[in-house]
């Protein structure tokens, strides 16, 4: 029974020579695929030129990309060490610092002393005034607007407590120390001394290490400490950017009475503490503070997310309800009327091809910005898409059941109900579910043109280029929703269609 099918090399070559078309395929085929690949390659080169991709990519500000990405999952605290003309220092936090108004972080160590300061230069006062009134001054709450206004009239000598030394420790290996117009920066064992000379500008002592850059002598020096932050050293100001992982003030913002309290303290306040606001319980105050968190706007984000979900849900549901009767008119095996078939089918094509974006823009004009516009856009587009798919499904049904029902003398409607519907209903439902899920995704995008939902909020958060952590928050919420809907719709569809999941 065993036949030796092994061939030696010579035999193989002989066979190959006798039937070359089996081994090498037709030359036309080979040339065609080579041509297709060459065409694609040419097209890519053309696009590279058309969009001048190379140029755009080289001109891009890649340095800022890292900062933006880091902003997704971390935040910066930015104290400024201001050095006045007389050498007195002041540590100032910006107005919306994540540390809140009364920040005394442990990583900023300050030494103070009392000095006699003359407020006799009106120009300097005027310069200092706006910053003092708009930012929270760290150690000198007495320097109010009124006293400075008087200073313009009459020179005044006041005794004031000023910062004589400020030490900022970024981490164990990195710190910046400012004392007597000298900045000492330490990073990974290297130390850089910088003199801040009002006359000669910023003067480093010795070579600049890798992590320090100065564009021109005398100008500011930028110290880049990697992920832990960076600092700008200038004659009048040392700006510190200390980066911390995580999201700042995610639950309570700095205006909330619960701000900066540990979980235990908050729980204690809520369940046993005295009422912070006599009008309502601490629990409702805390909940209110969370919802209206100024920085994260939880309530608004959730509302917008719910809008997106609702847009997809209602839009798809209405679309399938409207497409359902129409598809019977469009299917040529159900309605035997060529004109009616064609009219309905072209109507579906029209709805589909006008594109969700155009519908969204129109309905935003009609209903004003909000979910109604997005809902209607999804409804119009999907009526077309679902109608087309439904009528295709109808045209592919098995005719035997219909004939069977017809042969026992059923009325036309009963034929559809018992002969057609049982075959197509699972397909219809499954396709509607599929579009529900995919519309949840597209609803995010059309939201950005004003059609309601989280899209616009996302877009606005990105526009400022500083709220990337909010973008991250919304993206996570969207991903969670999409994954949940994905699995629910997959589960339902596989139950509808039997075991075959797709």
């Amino acid at each position: 029974m065993t036949v030796n099918t092994m061939m030696n090399a010579a035999e193989m070559e002989a066979i190959a020579a006798r039937h070359p078309h089996l081994i090498y395929g037709s030359s036309r085929k080979r040339i065609r695929s080579a041509l297709i690949f060459a065409g694609i390659a040419l097209y890519m080169i053309y696009s590279w030129w058309f969009f001048s991709i190379g140029q755009v990519l080289t001109n891009a500000n890649w340095g800022i990309a890292g900062t933006y990405l880091a902003d997704w999952v971390s935040y910066e605290v930015r104290p400024d060490i201001k050095i006045a003309a007389d050498g007195a220092m002041q540590v100032v936090y910006p107005r919306f610092s994540p540390l809140g108004p009364d920040a005394k972080p442990e990583w900023v160590k300050i030494e103070t002393r009392m000095v006699e300061r003359a407020f006799d230069a009106p120009a300097a006062t005027q310069q200092a005034l706006p910053t003092k009134s708009s930012t929270f001054s760290f150690m000198a709450p007495k320097s109010a607007v009124g006293s400075s206004a008087r200073a313009e009239v009459k020179p005044e000598i006041r005794s004031e407590e000023v910062v004589s030394r400020a030490t900022i420790s970024f981490n164990s290996a990195t710190s910046v120390d400012v004392v007597d117009r000298t900045v000492t920066a330490t990073h990974n064992g290297e130390t850089l001394l910088i003199d801040l000379d009002p006359g000669r500008g910023v003067q480093p002592k010795g070579e600049l290490p890798d992590w320090a850059t100065q564009k021109r002598p005398g100008e500011k020096i930028t110290l880049a400490f990697g992920m832990t932050g960076w600092a700008d050293v200038d004659v009048e100001k040392v700006s510190i950017h200390n980066r911390f992982p995580g999201w700042a003030n995610f639950i309570f913002d700095t205006n909330s009475p619960f701000f900066n309290k540990s979980f235990g303290e908050v729980a204690g306040l809520i369940f046993a503490g005295e009422r912070l606001d006599p009008a309502r319980s601490n629990l409702s105050l805390a909940w209110n503070n969370i919802l209206y968190n100024a920085e994260w706007q939880h309530l608004d984000v959730w509302t917008k997310l719910l809008q997106t979900i609702v847009m997809a849900f209602v839009g798809t549901l209405f679309a399938s309800i409207v497409a359902f009767p129409l598809c019977f008119l469009a299917a040529r095996n159900i309605t035997r009327n060529g004109v009616l078939n064609q009219v309905t089918k072209r109507f579906f094509d029209f709805l589909r091809s006008v594109d969700m974006l155009i519908w969204a823009l129109f309905f935003t004009r009609a209903f004003g910005p909000g979910p109604l516009a997005g809902m209607s856009a999804i409804f119009f587009t999907d009526t077309g898409t679902l109608g087309k798919l439904y009528s295709e499904a109808l045209e592919n049904i098995d005719d035997k059941q219909r004939e069977g029902v017809k042969s026992v003398g059923a009325a036309p409607l009963a034929v559809q109900r018992f002969g057609v519907l049982p075959q197509v209903l699972p397909v219809f439902a499954s396709q509607a579910l599929y579009f529900w899920e995919s519309n949840t995704r597209s609803a995010t995008i059309i939201g950005a043109v004003g059609a309601g939902g989280i899209g616009l909020k996302l877009w606005e958060a990105m526009r400022t280029n500083s709220d990337w952590e909010n973008v991250c928050y919304m993206v996570i919420l969207i991903l969670v929703v999409v994954f949940i809907f994905d699995s629910v719709s997959n589960l339902l569809r596989s139950r509808l269609m039997g075991q075959k999941t797709h």
Partner: protein
């Protein structure tokens, strides 16, 4: 259907069967009823919520529903052609509404490409480029995600999760992020659509691979082919037509997607469309819509024709 005729008395067995059937029927009806009731509740709740949070209320605004038709009536029919081909308008009063010739893209001193054609070409190029890009990377990734070719569950799981994230990540965010880095232009839109396409095509591709015939692969394995040879000679020839068909379907979707992304700040036709609708420039709006509409239909028809040639009728299923 006529079941009302009096039936002969049932035997005990028959009665059991009938009772059982009635129970089943009742239970099914109850479930259907509960399901429909839940759906109705969800629907009315959703509608109420949507109406509450909308800027204009549905019934108040319904009267203005067809306002947009008014936005589409130009001063005369020829205005549409003038807007489309950037010809000078007799109504030109220096405003943005009639400044059609200003958009001309001159190739030489005399020959120009009308602005909207150029923008449409840009959108089309974004779509084609991202489809090819997505197809290339989807092609590489799909073999690592298919159960029959990648026995290692960690690699498979990782690639699948990666593709899921690429797919679900909102395109707006990618476009916005790259807009911040690359400044205005079509490239952020290209990146956004490409990334999404990698995920979407990768998923469809690996499903095709998992359904492929494994006999060529077995043959190659028997003769000692390595993994790349098995994929290239055993798998690729049988899945390529399906891959092409899905890529073409994706192209249709990408043309639409790149229009939308263009409207929120990327390049292409979306941006002038949004602006002209927002500012009420009827002729421009209509010109763009006609252009977009015919492009979409042309792409759809071309893709349908090519798919039918590649794989026959079975390619006409859902895909995303």
């Amino acid at each position: 259907m006529a079941t009302s005729a009096p039936s002969p008395t049932l035997s005990d067995n028959g009665a059991v069967v009938e009772r059982h059937w009635q129970e089943l029927n009742l239970r099914r009806r109850t479930y259907t009823f509960i399901g429909l009731a839940l759906l109705a509740m969800a629907l009315s709740g959703s509608l109420w919520f949507a109406n509450e949070t909308n800027a204009g209320k549905f019934f108040d605004r319904l009267l203005y529903f067809f306002d947009f038709v008014g936005d589409l009536v130009p001063r005369d029919g020829a205005e549409i052609a003038r807007a489309m081909f950037d010809l000078a308008s007799p109504y030109d009063d220096g405003s943005l509404k009639y400044n059609y010739p200003e958009g001309r893209m001159y190739l030489t001193d005399a020959i120009y490409v009308p602005e909207y054609f150029y923008r449409m070409l840009e959108t089309l190029n974004i779509a084609i480029f991202s489809t090819i890009f997505g197809m290339f990377f989807g092609f590489i990734l799909c073999f690592l995600a298919a159960r029959n070719l990648m026995p290692n569950p960690w690699v498979r799981g990782f690639v699948r999760r990666l593709m899921e994230i690429l797919r679900a990540f909102p395109e707006v965010v990618i476009a916005g992020f790259f807009l911040a880095i690359l400044s205005l232009g079509p490239i952020p839109a290209m990146i956004a659509v490409s990334i999404h396409t990698v995920g979407a095509l990768g998923k469809l591709f690996f499903e095709v691979v998992e359904n492929a015939d494994m006999r060529p692969d077995e043959g190659l394995r028997a003769t000692g082919g390595n993994w790349i040879e098995r994929v290239w000679f055993g798998m690729v020839p049988q899945v390529l037509p399906n891959f092409m068909s899905y890529a073409l379907l994706r192209l249709e979707i990408n043309v639409r997607a790149s229009t939308i992304i263009g409207a929120v700040g990327g390049g292409g036709i979306g941006e002038p469309l949004r602006l002209s609708i927002g500012q009420g420039h009827e002729a421009k709006t209509l010109a763009i819509i006609i252009l977009l509409f015919s492009t979409i239909i042309a792409v759809d028809q071309f893709s349908a024709w090519l798919r039918r040639r590649l794989v026959g009728d079975q390619a006409f299923q859902l895909a995303q």
